[in-house]
């Protein structure tokens, strides 16, 4: 499968008089193959939007190289821009223009037939509100307009930065269905989102970024499998006794008030056998598979930690608050 997006060693530092240097992206790599629906995950401030902006030529990268549809970015971006639809972080529109005019002007500038405008407005459910001023749109409607603008060119590659931002549950489902049908039609989709359940539902590949660096990448099932502890939840009449028996059988066991969590289970029949032999009958035996959320929290060091106020991603170098030694050790990669 050929790569549609390739990013290697991307670096971007923002310098401002007020805030000083802030490293937003620090040697980040990303590869998106043709036809993938690729999830792009990371905590707030981890550098997702900056990466996409650099890729699309909106900010100037300080290092690394990028390729979009085979064209080096940003130098040759204009050769492929017509095939890439993108929205970057809740796009803004000129408030006094109607939704229709906003799209029409883009279509004119990009040489897309203006008849497409009505099609995409219908696709995102704005067909009846197209001739209202964007100023009067709700957040979700603006977001839909943004998605419509990305769809306008009939893109081969769709880059969506938090498209579900502001959408209602029905809107999120519509968006999911839309992504699906686009992917079925062969469109490659790169989608950044914080709604991990959503990503798990629609994406086949995922890249996780933390503090400007890639911390995981690959097929969703493979990434998840890498974090599979082979744990099982066991419910049984006499948990204490069962725990002893299982430990005796060489399995690590965590005892919870109403269930046990057994680790390193190669074959679950071992559990029922060990307990059954002693007349303890297993009431429930469930595999505990990691989901994207737990993997994400583990990788990005954002899991719940007692007594530590949670921070946005502090960035690779400039940590805003030094965590107390000991408590901070559980956190993810530290550059």
């Amino acid at each position: 499968m050929s790569a549609v997006i390739e990013i290697e060693g991307l670096r971007k530092t923002f310098n401002s008089v007020r805030n000083g240097r802030r490293v937003a992206v620090d040697g980040f790599d990303l590869t998106v193959g043709a036809g993938e629906v690729h999830g792009f995950l990371g905590p707030n401030g981890s550098g997702k939007t900056t990466t996409l902006r650099a890729l699309l030529g909106l900010v100037r990268a300080d290092g690394g190289w990028m390729n979009v549809l085979g064209a080096p970015s940003p130098t040759h971006l204009s050769q492929v821009a017509g095939r890439v639809g993108a929205i970057v972080e809740s796009p803004q529109f000129f408030g006094n223009f109607t939704g229709y005019r906003t799209l029409r002007l883009l279509a004119l500038a990009g040489g897309v037939p203006v008849s497409r405008v009505d099609e995409v407005l219908a696709q995102v459910g704005l067909q009846d509100r197209g001739d209202e001023r964007v100023k009067g749109y709700s957040l979700g409607m603006k977001q839909r307009l943004a998605v419509a603008s990305a769809l306008l060119k009939n893109p081969e590659l769709l880059i969506l930065d938090e498209p579900a931002n502001g959408l209602d549950p029905a809107g999120i489902r519509e968006m999911r269905d839309l992504m699906r049908s686009l992917a079925d039609g062969g469109v490659t989709v790169l989608i950044s989102s914080h709604i991990l359940a959503e990503i798990q539902l629609i994406c086949d590949h995922v890249t996780i970024i933390s503090r400007g660096r890639r911390v995981a990448a690959g097929r969703v099932d493979e990434v998840l499998a890498g974090f599979d502890q082979h744990e099982f939840l066991v419910r049984v009449a006499e948990p204490e006794r069962a725990a002893e028996l299982l430990r005796a059988g060489g399995l690590p066991v965590d005892v919870h008030p109403d269930h046990l969590v057994v680790g390193q289970v190669g074959d679950p029949t071992t559990i029922s056998r060990l307990l059954g032999e002693q007349g303890l009958w297993v009431r429930e035996l469930t595999a505990l598979r990691p989901d994207l959320e737990s993997v994400f929290l583990e990788l990005t060091g954002e899991g719940p930690q007692p007594q530590v106020p949670r921070q946005v991603d502090p960035g690779p170098h400039d940590r805003v608050i030094e965590l107390d030694a000991g408590v901070g050790e559980g956190r993810g990669d530290d550059a």
């Binding site: 902006r53 900010v59 821009a81 883009l106 500038a109």
Partner: protein
């Protein structure tokens, strides 16, 4: 080309542009109707009367000159000594006057096109300069500020092309509108002159002069447009251009002028853009030369002049530098 078409549509759809055009039409309507109301077609008797008065006035000028010369030569009859005459009789020589009284000077309540055309045109140019500056600034300022430029760049990632197309379209639009406005404007007043006033003496020289003023005015309009555009691009916001213009006027044209007068700087006017604008429009402006007079005893009327060539160079240079900076900055800027 596609880009230019889209930009032209964007420009025309902007409410600010529409508002300014409405204002232009209103101002124009008000001037035209008050002119119309305050003017009538001169009767034959009025014309004859005016001609007589003009001839009389010219004759008086000849007379004064003659008496001045006579006095210098000592031929003046006694009793006329109290009359004031300049030391140099050339100053009252009718032949050396810029213009002599003509019949149309003596037509009260009559709109005379040949006499009013130039000042009417200056008014229009002043409006168009303001229009160009404000529209130039808000067109790009609002677009940068509202994220419209970012959206467009996702479609056409060539920044220089996009900004160039915007500036080009803007200049084309402003020029087109200015031409249209001036033609309609002058034509209306010409018709008023024909129908409800007096056309005056409209020879080739008149139209040539008017055309020259018009051409110079249009150059100024375009320069103001580029200036507004460049300042708003540099400051990423419409108000950056407005603020710079206001600050320039207050701090430099007023404040610095005062300071320069206090410290007796030589020829402070040459540092003021307004002087250069004046020089460009009228070909030449003269200022009283305080430094040359500082050493002179008694009455001093030494002047120095700014001419249009260096004035134009200053105006184009300034606008060019700012526009160049705007493009350069926009090329490298992070668009967030």
């Amino acid at each position: 080309m596609k880009l230019v078409r889209a930009e032209l549509e964007r420009l025309g759809a902007r409410r600010f542009v529409q508002l300014m055009i409405v204002l232009l039409v209103l101002a124009f309507g008000a001037t035209a109707s008050t002119t119309l109301a305050g003017s009538h077609r001169p009767t034959a008797a009025e014309l004859v009367e005016a001609r007589t008065q003009a001839a009389e006035s010219r004759r008086q000028m000849d007379d004064v000159y003659q008496r001045c010369v006579d006095r210098v030569n000592g031929n003046l009859p006694p009793g006329a000594e109290e009359e004031y005459f300049p030391a140099d009789c050339g100053e009252v020589d009718p032949v050396r006057q810029e213009r002599l009284p003509v019949a149309t000077d003596f037509l009260p309540g009559v709109f005379v096109f040949s006499q009013q055309a130039e000042s009417l045109l200056y008014f229009l140019i002043a409006f168009l300069v303001l229009f160009g500056f404000l529209v130039g600034a808000s067109y790009i300022g609002a677009d940068l500020n509202s994220g419209g430029v970012v959206n467009l760049l996702l479609w056409r990632p060539r920044r220089m092309t996009v900004l160039g197309a915007k500036l080009g379209t803007l200049l084309g639009g402003v020029l087109g509108l200015s031409l249209l406005a001036s033609v309609v404007y002058l034509a209306t007043f010409w018709v008023i002159g024909q129908a409800a006033g007096f056309p005056g003496h409209l020879d080739g020289a008149f139209w040539r002069d008017l055309g020259a003023v018009h051409g110079r005015g249009l150059v100024l309009v375009l320069l103001a447009t580029v200036l507004g555009f460049a300042l708003a691009t540099l400051g990423r916001h419409t108000s950056a251009a407005l603020g710079t213009a206001a600050a320039y006027l207050v701090v430099w044209e007023l404040g610095a002028r005062l300071v320069m007068e206090i410290v007796d700087a030589t020829h402070p006017e040459r540092f003021m853009l307004s002087s250069h604008v004046g020089a460009w429009l009228s070909g030449r402006v003269e200022f009283w030369d305080a430094s040359a007079c500082a050493t002179a005893a008694g009455f001093c009327d030494r002047v120095y002049a700014l001419t249009w060539q260096p004035a134009l160079a200053v105006l184009i240079g300034l606008t060019g530098v700012l526009a160049g900076a705007a493009f350069l900055v926009f090329r490298r800027r992070d668009l967030i």
